[in-house]
Amino acid sequence: MQSDQSTEVHEPIKAVPVRHPGRWVAGLVLLVLLAMVTNTIVSKIPKQNGQPGTQWRYGWDLVRQLIFSAPYANAALLTMWLTLTAMLVGIGLGLVIALFRLSPNPLLSGTAWTYTWFFRGTPVIVQIFFWYNIASIYPTLGVGVPFGTVYWHLNPITLISGFVAAAILGLGLNEAAYMSEIFRAGMLSVDRGQIEAAQSLGMPHTLTQRLVVLPQAMRVIIPPTGNEVISMLKTSALAGLVGLPELFYQYQGTAANTFQNIPPLIAISLWYLLITTVLSIGQYFVERHYRRGVAGVSQRRFGGYVLSSVFKPRRRGGMWDVTSDSVLVPHR
């Protein structure tokens, strides 16, 4: 028999681990429920007499027919294009509004506040329909002397009343209100000392914002912006209501023609899921870019592990190297 001392120091502890019967029961129940749902998804509807049926409960044959058909694929492209364009409008205008809001000029900050108040306070669908019908209150748009001569004008029926413009304006201007708040939060999160350091080096205001504040604010700005992009992808379905042939519009068409609702819904859902997945991967890389110079274990999140192992085959100890100073150093 060993002495007490050596047991204390060298022997790893051998103890009976705590049992968790509750976990096993809950897991089993969940497994059974999951099996039942899966069974309905992958099975055909049985006939009245109990014979195996020929009709998929989820209409997989129709889903397969629809999903890569030309109208659906084009609709998916249009949805992506609409999302990106509306987001670009939202991000560009949102940044301007955020800078206005943080400006010491009360006229500018007041304007920005009012903008956010209005566009955040009315439903997107109302805004889209508003832009769709704008020509009824402003039949022409012109450039000239205020309250005076108009030198150049155009017919907004061609510009605004098009459903494309209405959708982009409605989605983009609404998004700008939300993005401006995200930008503002990001810029306020940057330490005041950073601005003072830049000022003490003689950097003017705009240069300080561009070189010091925004790059650091980006770390705070990117995650909610990723959320907004994905949210926009789904909100863009509203554009179908003013006749833009995107995914939801295609569903409506198919449902009206075939009286089948679930299969086209599944088809467009799969498209939405696919695009969301691609966007999430993109977000991971953008976040990694703006994480430059920030060390800390908190950076290693589950998604980070999964994605880095998928997209960056193991190089020396994964995404981060641990140096002798036990400081986390990003890979070069």
């Binding site: 000392g193 003689g202 950097m203 010091v212």
Partner: protein, 287 residues
């Protein structure tokens, strides 16, 4: 009570043709109802090191921040190298400076902060080069595109070279591609000093440069500052390091409650402090 300027002729401008680097005359500053500076009179000659000591809340950091206009002065006159800080005198009237003019003035004054304030998204070298590259770089000229392009490229190379030299001077030549988060506090503060020096300032302000450091890291920063003083840099140092003040300082200023209560050559005032509040302060600090 006589003003500190009159008290200590050793660092008052004798030569009227050459103004002192920093001249404060009855400088006052209040934050809301709190009077932070109650009339500061001080002259700092070019090439000297002035250490400002005093209990926390005595207004020493505020005074330092007034010198490069991070805080605006409420009353009195403050000038650096003969030019008024933050204002311009024209036809007997004071005009506020524009943002651009203030930046131009600040570019000649280096500042080192207690919390380093390095830019965390830039490497040590980028931290040092970013300001000269963006602020000092000659503009592109459309009248002489080729010549100005070459001038700009040469300038960029020169800034890089000088930045590398500066990092070597503060002993961090091997850390130029490290991010601030990978450096110790002392190393970060040395990069911050190099960053300020990269603008080739005529005056350096240090706001408690060693107060946020672990004790064993204080020495390396003080060594860099000592070297800077030996090279003839004009420095104003807000500090609690009495040893540094005694050894390197040409003048020691004691501030309390927004006033300068005692000033003079460090050895003299530390050996025989006359003001009772300074005596009390020293007895707490020097134990």
């Amino acid at each position: 009570m006589s003003t500190p300027v009159a008290q200590s002729p050793s660092f008052v401008s004798e030569d009227a043709s050459r103004p002192p680097m920093v001249l404060a005359q009855d400088v006052r500053k209040r934050f809301g109802r709190l009077q932070v500076l109650r009339g500061i009179n001080l002259a700092v000659e070019a090439g000297t090191v002035t250490c400002i000591v005093g209990p926390s809340g005595s207004g020493k950091s505020t005074f330092l921040r007034c010198i490069n206009h991070l805080e605006r002065v409420d009353a009195g006159r403050l000038s650096v190298d003969g030019t008024l800080v933050g204002y311009r005198m024209r036809r007997g009237k004071l005009y506020e400076l524009t943002d651009r003019q203030i930046c131009k003035m600040r570019a000649d004054i280096g500042m080192v902060f207690q919390r380093f304030n390095l830019f965390p998204h830039l490497t040590a070298l980028e931290n040092v080069t970013v300001a000269p590259l963006r602020v000092r770089r000659p503009p592109f000229s459309f009248r002489h595109p080729i010549r100005s392009h070459h001038a700009r490229r040469a300038f960029k190379e020169e800034v890089r070279r000088e930045a590398a030299d500066l990092l070597e001077r503060v002993g961090l030549a091997d850390k130029s591609s490290s991010y601030p988060s990978q450096l110790s506090g002392g190393q970060q503060q040395r990069v911050a000093i190099a960053r300020a020096l990269a603008m080739k300032p005529k005056l350096m302000l240090f706001d408690e440069p060693t107060s946020a450091l672990d004790p064993e890291l204080v020495g390396e920063v003080l060594d860099v500052m000592r070297g800077l003083a030996a090279d003839g840099m004009t420095m104003i140092v807000v500090t609690h390091e009495m040893g540094f003040a005694r050894e390197v300082g040409d003048a020691l200023v004691f501030m309390d409650d927004g006033e300068i209560l005692e000033s003079g050559a460090p050895r003299d005032v530390l050996a025989a402090p006359s003001n009772p509040r300074f005596q009390a302060f020293l007895s707490k600090v020097l134990t």
